[in-house]
């Protein structure tokens, strides 16, 4: 297995030119290739700096962003998202319609589509996939394995005590699949746009034993399908995963049913260190990477890189737990917290360009966002007055913040904590600070209701309100213990009702009403900010649209 001639040439070029500007190097490689293909638009390799290795290559079992990033280049779902938005658009299904009760969905499928292994995509294949998901057994039913299914569809065929949203799938004819649900939900069909619910080749699933997940020791091991043979319909197909060199390679699918990819190859080079990714980009080793540190945006731009800012699709909030301190069950105290925090200063000093103060628990892109709500202004005096009114002037709160983590909504937890704690102290609230590692006790303690205050946030999976407020407050024993207050149950019931409403316009109104109530009557926590994450590329990489869902597909990308 000798390596290809182009790769060899790239090396000689790299070695011959070490010390010369990176731009010249890539320009040289470009012109060579341009001569071969005549155009300069087609061909080339996009090398992307990934923060971590994909956990596996079968998106159905995936929970990590790096797996999704790689697999969304190889797979497609029935529906997709319009580039740059959270709006659903046709993908493998060209159109769909639902019955009046929202329980029966008929999908018309695209024709002449082939999987990477040459087998045909049709309604039968769609149902094989649905039935595969629904019939997971044993270890594969674990929360750690089929997490997206459990979160969005509920249980499995053999778990009668855990009902599933999915009822059945039938292939009416090769290009028509009918999916029956057990109830109406706002999540459908946009949930089918999640990379997790991509359609795999039934043949390959069977051949490579795709469902054979085994719990071994502390973890799970996955079958050959998930490790070496992911087979979808996407513009790229799997090349190889060179683990010794920490590189994943995808190659163009020349039989793609839509516009064929312009790039020959997409390479994901795993560089765990953030600074190293930046330097690799500057040195020309990679063509782009995700989530550049906000502090580097300006520098990267002035160095001639294309910093693409995604629309903000996340929220950071200061969690309030009503469990341990009864004073926190008083709305006035929670409102005092909201007035005490200088959110504008926080956003300006600690968050990236384009970040804004949050007025509610979902960003403007989500259906059901209430435009009439405005974030209250910083007012420490009002906070003190409210605390006095509530008889809580000597409030002491246990405030937890996480270490060993950064999130797009929370770029530097320590710095954010420092600013918030400073504000609270100015309003006369005493803070007992505790920091714990994100995976080493922080999340567990937050779940178990140990702290009074905590920092957390959410990055949306799709544009439905249920994915946001439904996740936060849809049950009463949530992280805020809203069940401690009489309105907790009301809120949960209202959310369930809104989610089950099949009519979209009515549903949006319901959510707007709920958001208003959350912010004015309940205030279970303090929403802090929406922060836009970015993705950065070299100037000559074109055709990548930044997506609020981080759903960037490289099929349309070209080099030069």
């Amino acid at each position: 297995m000798a390596h290809s001639r182009t790769a060899r040439r790239r090396w000689s070029a790299a070695i011959g030119l070490t010390g010369v500007a990176a731009l010249a190097l890539s320009g040289c490689a470009q012109s060579e290739r341009g001569g071969e293909t005549g155009g300069g638009q087609v061909g080339g390799t996009l090398t992307f700096g990934a923060a971590g290795a994909p956990k596996l290559l079968d998106p159905f079992y995936a929970t990590d962003g790096e797996t999704f990033r790689v697999s969304r280049q190889m797979f497609e779902g029935l529906v997709g998202f319009k580039p740059g938005t959270a709006e659903v658009q046709p993908a493998l299904a060209t159109k769909w319609e639902s019955s009046a009760d929202g329980k029966t969905w008929t999908f018309t499928l695209k024709e002449n589509v082939k999987f990477h292994d040459g087998t045909a995509f049709n309604a039968e294949a769609v149902c094989v996939n649905f039935n595969r998901w629904y019939n997971q057994k044993g270890a594969a039913q674990s929360e750690a394995v089929s997490q997206y299914w459990l979160d969005n569809f509920g249980g499995f065929a053999d778990t009668p005590d855990k009902p599933s949203l999915f009822k059945s799938c039938a292939a009416k004819d090769p290009k028509t699949a009918v999916v029956e649900l057990t109830k109406s939900t706002s999540q459908f069909p946009s949930v089918l746009g999640f990379t997790s619910f991509s359609i795999s080749s039934p043949e390959a699933l069977k051949k490579y034993d795709a469902d054979n997940v085994v719990a071994s020791g502390d973890a799970f091991t996955y079958p050959a399908y998930a490790n070496e043979h992911p087979t979808g319909t996407g513009p790229f197909k799997f090349g190889k995963f060179d683990k010794a060199n920490n590189v994943v390679e995808l190659v163009r699918n020349d039989d793609y049913h839509g516009d064929k990819a312009k790039l020959d190859k997409v390479v994901f080079k795993i560089i765990p260190d953030e600074t190293a990714r930046k330097q690799a980009l500057k040195a020309g080793d990679i063509d782009g990477y995700d989530l550049p540190n906000a502090a580097d945006w300006a520098g990267l731009k002035s160095d001639g890189f294309d910093v693409k800012v995604r629309p903000a699709f996340n929220v950071l909030y200061l969690g309030i737990n009503q469990l341990n301190n009864p004073k926190l069950q008083d709305l006035k105290v929670r409102q005092a917290l909201q007035y005490a925090i200088n959110r504008e200063q926080l956003v300006k000093s600690q968050l990236p360009e384009g970040a804004t103060v949050a007025s509610q628990f979902m960003p403007p892109l989500v259906n059901g966002y209430d435009k009439s709500l405005e974030a209250v202004k910083y007012d420490p005096e009002k906070a003190k007055a409210l605390l006095a009114e509530a008889g809580a002037s000597d409030l002491t709160l246990k405030f937890y913040w996480p270490t060993e983590v950064t999130r797009p909504y929370m770029p530097s937890p320590k710095d954010l904590y420092g600013a918030i704690a400073g504000d609270l102290q100015k309003a006369g609230i005493k803070v007992e600070a505790t920091s714990k590692p994100w995976n080493g006790g922080y999340l567990t303690d937050v779940d178990n209701g140990v702290p009074d205050l905590f920092m957390l946030g959410w990055t949306g999976d799709n544009g439905t309100a249920h994915n946001w407020v439904g996740t936060f407050f849809g049950r009463t024993d949530n992280r805020f213990n809203t069940g401690k207050s009489p309105w907790g149950k009301v809120l949960a019931d209202d959310l369930a009702a809104a989610n089950a409403e099949p009519d979209e316009a009515k549903r949006t109104k319901l959510y707007e009403g709920i958001n208003k109530k959350i912010m004015t009557e309940y205030l279970p926590a303090v929403p802090l900010s929406y922060a836009p994450p970015a993705i950065v590329f070299k100037k000559e990489i074109q055709g990548v649209t930044p997506s609020p869902l981080t759903d960037e597909r490289f099929g349309s990308a070209s080099k030069g």
């Binding site: 390596h3 070695i15 799970f220 765990p272 690799a280 080493g440």
Partner: protein, 334 residues
Amino acid sequence: MLRYTIRRLIQLVGVVLVLSLLLFAWLRALPGGPVSALLGERATPESREALTKQLGLDQPIFVQYVKFLGRALSGDFGVSTGVQPGDSAMEIFLQRFPATIELSFLAIVIAVALGIPLGYLAAKRRGGWFDNLSVAGSLIGVAVPVFFLAYVLKDVLSAALGLPTQGRQDAIGATRVTGFFVVDGVITQEWDAALNALEHLILPAIALSTIPFAVVFRITRAAVLDVLNEDFVRTAESKGLTSPVIRRRHVLRNAMLPVVTTIGLQTGALLAGAVLTEKVFSLPGVGQALAIGFERRDYPVLLLLIIMATVVYVVVNLLVDLSYAFIDPRIRTR
């Protein structure tokens, strides 16, 4: 000699067992752990409980340890949760170990190539400006935090020399034979691949070599001073042997003994240093896996890598002891 070796090996097994039990028990006692790592921020109390049960983490620690030992004997040390999620810890070790060996080897080569001649010269000119300067240099080298030096090299030298600052190799497609990229390139005669892999090692190896360099330098200097004072050199001098002959025949060869041993014994410092330098240079070796493991609390990987580091360290120590006794007959009689 054989009995000595066997005794040391049995000791090693004991050390590994005790160490693994301690690590295992302690890691299990920590909050979070595998369940948190697998479920992340989407976890609910129920899903945590279910997964804890499923993975058998609710059983007594001793039962868990015995099960772990059983699996470990067949090479199964668990699956990574943070370094390369989903891969077995053993696989991660095997893939990454060659990178660390290559790096350490180059670092030792640099340390020796500079340390021995400088140490020799410094000893010959004891008290002179060269001696003082190089002693001071070696002391400063030890006082600089390794990772800081690595960053300075990366930010300053890489630009000046045009050397790569991350990874093991630029392009992909090189044939893999042994997992040692430089060696692979030589075997398959893909010279540019070998050279490219070597370029990736230079800066991290320089950063990693400072402490071994300082040690080799000081030991060489001290050893040469010792030997110069020894009777046989004085005798040789009195017999009228010229200084180059003395140098070659007596001084250097005798001074070599402690130096050779020292080189072997630097393994420990190299392993710890590799954690820091591989992190700075994003070099996918064992050290980087340890650094990410510490950061992301990947306990299965940490457990295996710490045990393997100990085994490597002890085995190298043993080999050095054996070779030492073999080279220098005076030791055997001790």
